[in-house]
């Protein structure tokens, strides 16, 4: 069976968002366990679990936790990246709505392990309800003594948790842009290693900073509560534990599915009830930023970091999208490129100019203006963006288009030659409004 609920073990429990129910189902045991250990032992526990960052990059979590100085000389900050903006991903939303206490507990554990006194949860601006749930959870945790001063009676273990709402920028999900935004600056990415110190040395307000995804903190809670051995027993050799996959698209039961790392991709489709409206054409396994995989190449792919990478795609943040055979891949890419052109922060040249150019080429092709050489032009523009941009957003804008041209080149050629869709009536809707909504908004404001 593909589904393995660890973090989601209690998600169907009624009232789990309340602290009493949560505690009754083993809540805050992870934190109690953590404070009974030495700080280094907590980090070692995370290390031996093999947990890797669940935000998309898969960086070993314990290295970040271990990177902060183990003293209270300077303020340290623990930040949770809940700016879930990747199209196709909605796991954090459910975690916050139902299991906000798991996050609070996980961040308190991280606060304990890294000698931090302040925590911030950066929630994307559209997540109003999840933010309310988290607010309630934090208030309850303060009352119950899981946050605040001298937590669980441990002298000197102080940890405050704050919520910071984003203002609707995809770019702020990038960790350095998130830190800029959190500090009140424009949500632009900042210099990264080796150009600047790591966040664990110099993050927000020039202080050591730990920044992890919601799912990572929740997994840390589970690991502390249930033991690293149990966690590392799951998954593959290098990708341990479970991963929450947000399944969407032409699928019978779209939802969040927690699967063991290494589960065959096709099993997940079966578990979600199979494809609707036609036969399976392609899958995007990790959110809109990763390369699309045609149906015939899915057989060998397992849901873990290494297998996805070996097959020319990425597990990413787990935004799993399935498309049936009535999907027009060119229109899908046009919509995707429009998203990136809109969300580029505009800081660096390749991303600012390149993403808009990609969109305009695809827009021209899909409105009947395709020319010979446009595919090569797209590939060349993608190559000029990929790896040249300031942060990963540029890469993320280029990869899907390169992937789509590799897998479905004939559909692009069809559009250019016949000026119409190769699938006839298409399933992916065109963008709702060609006018950039941000532009329209500012025009009204002026």
């Amino acid at each position: 069976m593909a589904i393995m609920n660890l973090l989601f073990a209690n998600r169907e429990v009624p009232g789990i968002e309340n602290i009493a129910v949560y505690e009754a189902h083993g809540g805050y045991q992870g934190l109690r366990k953590a404070v009974s250990l030495d700080r280094q032992a907590v980090i070692d526990e995370v290390k031996s679990s093999g947990l890797r960052g669940r935000g998309g990059a898969g960086f070993p979590t314990w290295i970040k936790w271990n990177g902060l100085p183990k003293n209270y000389d300077k303020p340290h900050y623990v930040i949770c990246n809940a700016d879930e903006g990747e199209p196709g991903t909605y796991k954090d939303r459910e975690l916050l709505l139902k299991l906000a206490h798991t996050l609070v507990e996980g961040m308190a554990i991280a606060g304990y392990a890294t000698c931090s006194t302040q925590g911030y949860v950066y929630i994307r601006g559209e997540y109003v309800e999840p933010a309310w749930q988290l607010r309630k959870a934090i208030d309850q945790a303060y009352k119950a003594g899981y946050l605040g001063k001298n937590i669980l009676g441990i002298e000197g273990f102080n940890f405050d948790l704050n919520i910071h709402m984003g203002a609707g920028s995809y770019e702020c999900g990038e960790e350095s842009a998130l830190m800029s935004s959190l500090m009140g600056e424009r949500g632009n990415p900042r210099l990264k290693f080796p150009h600047a110190p790591l966040p664990t040395v110099e993050g927000v307000w020039k202080s050591p900073t730990l920044i992890n995804n919601v799912e990572t903190y929740c997994a840390a809670t589970w690991i502390l509560a249930n033991g690293a051995e149990k966690y590392s027993a799951l998954g593959t050799e290098r990708s341990k534990g479970t991963k929450i996959i947000s399944v969407s698209g032409h699928i019978r039961r779209p939802s969040n599915y927690e699967v063991e790392m290494g589960t065959p991709l096709l099993e997940l489709i079966d578990a979600a009830g199979g494809v609707v409206g036609g036969s399976l054409k392609a899958v995007i396994p990790g959110g809109s930023s990763v390369q699309i995989v045609p149906a015939e190449k899915l057989a060998g792919i397992n849901l873990d970091y290494e297998s996805c990478f070996a097959n020319g795609t990425l597990l990413g943040s787990g935004g799993f999208m399935a498309f049936n055979d009535r999907t027009d891949i060119v229109l899908l890419m046009k919509r995707t490129s429009e998203f990136y052109a809109h969300e580029s922060c505009g800081k660096c040249t390749p991303c600012r100019e390149g993403t808009r150019w990609l969109y305009r080429i695809l827009d021209r092709i899909t409105s009947g203006g395709g020319q010979e050489g446009d595919i090569e032009l797209l590939l060349s523009v993608c190559a000029n963006i990929d790896g040249r941009s300031y942060c990963g957003l540029g890469d993320a804008a280029a990869w899907p288009i390169v992937g789509a041209i590799k897998a479905f080149r004939e559909e692009f050629e069809y559009w250019i030659k016949y000026k119409k869709s190769p699938v006839g009536s298409h399933a992916v809707p065109p963008s709702p409004d060609p006018v950039n909504p941000l532009l329209r908004l500012s025009a009204v404001n002026r």
Partner: protein, 765 residues
Amino acid sequence: MSENKLTQTDATLNPPTTDLVNIKINGVAVKVPKGENIIESARRVGVDIPYFCYHPRLSKGDAANCRMCLIEVASTAPDGSVRKMPKPQAACTMPASEGLVVETETPAIIKDRKGILEFLLINHPLDCPVCDRGGECPLQNNTLFYGPPTSRFIEEKRHYPKSYPLSEHVVFDRERCIQCARCTRFTEDISGDSQLGFLKRGADIEVGSFASTAYQSKFSGNVIELCPVGALLSRNYRFKARPWDLLTQKSICTQCSNGCNIKYDYRVDKIQRVNARLNEDVNEEWTCDRGKFGHDYISADSRLREPLVKRGGKWHPISWTEAYALVAEKFKAAGSNVAGIGGANATNEDNFAFQKFFRETLKSSNIDHRLGAYQGPGAGPIFSRLGYHTTGTTIAELESAKTIFLLGTELADEQPILFLRVRKAARFKGAAIVNALDRAVADTTSASDFADVDLLYRPGTEVALLNGVLNVLFSKELVAAQDGLDFSGLQSAVAEWTPEKAAAETGVSAESIVRAAELLARGSVAVIAGKTVTEHAYYTDIAAVLANLVIAVGSPAGLNIPVTDFNAQGAADMGVLPDYGPGYTPVASAGLNTRGILQAAASGSLGALWIVGAELLEQYADTKLAESALENCQFIVMNALSLTPTASMADLILPVASAAEKDGTVTSCERRIQRIYRAFDISGNVKPDWLVFTEVAELLGGGAPYVSARDIWRDIAQTIPTHSSITLKSLGESGIRWQYAHPAPKPTVAAAPYKAPAAAGTSRA
């Protein structure tokens, strides 16, 4: 209002580290300081890396956004194996580290540069023929060297209205902007007004001010020079010339006494624009708006081109011969009952010839260049205590001060480039700023934005405030014992000025006074006192207490009361003072100071008055006295550039050369002697001041027959011991700061009396 210093991104201007690392650039091994960025390291081996957004004086936090300087980087492991980084890296922020291997000219990098330039140009209007930057544009140059020959972009370009007026001085062409963030970083890092930022995002991103308000800054002109394309342009220079039409001459800004190095770009005989010239010791590469846009007077149509004489209330042009004859006649008739005012805006040579003409030819010492309220002894109030006349610290030394105490000055207006150094010290070098200001003048200054403590005192209570600070220094034992210096007298004199009493007297909170004293006790203090102090009736007392303060905190060379007029320092050095000759040698019998001269003129007893460019009606504190002096004086000759209100009250006006039309030297407020150069002549009938004095002296039968400014400099060097080793050649590009021949005097402390202001708000002179 204090900035959160923790949030600021670090500057690349870190002090050079002595730690050297071995790196390899294009196969050439080189040792460079650890952490230096690769663009700078590459320059050491003659490798050019193209860039747009990088600037060595701006913080690197927002750099690396143009991506033009991409390079391939590999690191060498201890075992000697070389590991290449998968992505190209931005050279402008890549720190040099041991074993770094850099390649800048690989096929991949050449292709990347083409790609980046293609991206930059897809939305650039390419209207180079009508762009003021065309011909000196980094985007043009880099495209020529590294860019693709054609573009593959066939869509419509981005369009905005052209020439959006950003401020009084700057227009903004949004179409041309390449979003390099140099201007936004300048306003945040250097000028500190944070007026420009980015609006919107993605390809719609644009530079703008908050809510489209005007870009208000005292340093806005610098962004024009910083902009690597023609997006930010001077309103003044707009469409006036192309770079190849212009000739350039080096000069010194005449707008204040900082001595900023500038370049005049001129066409035939008209100045088209003023740009900054690099001088690390003075202005680095910045100008203030007053300096950048304030030289229009040189090429104004109102410039006089021939001598004018007033006959029957009307001006008549006459020849120089007639004018000289008239002057000679009048001055001969008046004998030694003559006087001269001015020189603060003329060169050292002009001033030397001026005083020589009066002292040797006319046998009169009635000359003075000072127009301010202080008319006391020419050496000033601090010379006898500290051994220097005005400034003890150089502009560049402000950077190394631990605490800077600003007293009664809006520095950004009075000494703008000094202000930039103070801000640099505060922002990048960790200096603490104590900002004391007269609350009747202003409740905030530009320095308040980054000052650690603001002291808003009641008018006239400067001495009480400083005594309060001294009291804290003594009572908290923050004064280190100094060799052979007895502080007990001073300590008991200020004993009554407890913080509470000082607070009650000055209106500053006692905590602020204590805080200020603690900061001043950090050592290495620089004090800058401004116009509120020098124009004060109690200036001498305040200066005495300031001297006590700098001696008590152990920085006796830290007091600065800079002069404000262009070459007022040079005029004093050259001896345009009633009681001191060149080099501050006392004269046998002192003449009249400016006030005395004007009083004599007003009473009608003065035979003849020579005004050298001094705008008495506008600049002299007592306008009524100036007016009656100008009306009642028997004969007034004035050296003037144009028919100003003061000039129009003279009897004879001699048209003289401006700073762009003569050679010479000037001395800035930090005693730095720098050269100015003749760029052009506006007319054959306009003469430099020194030539006028030389020719009149010859008519009157005396004086040295100088034929050039160089001649006079030779004479100056022979006359003034402190200038004796300085030749025009040795001044070089950055000038020389003349040094006192005598050793610094042994500091002495002397309590100054406190005179309470008669009534609040009325004590200012």
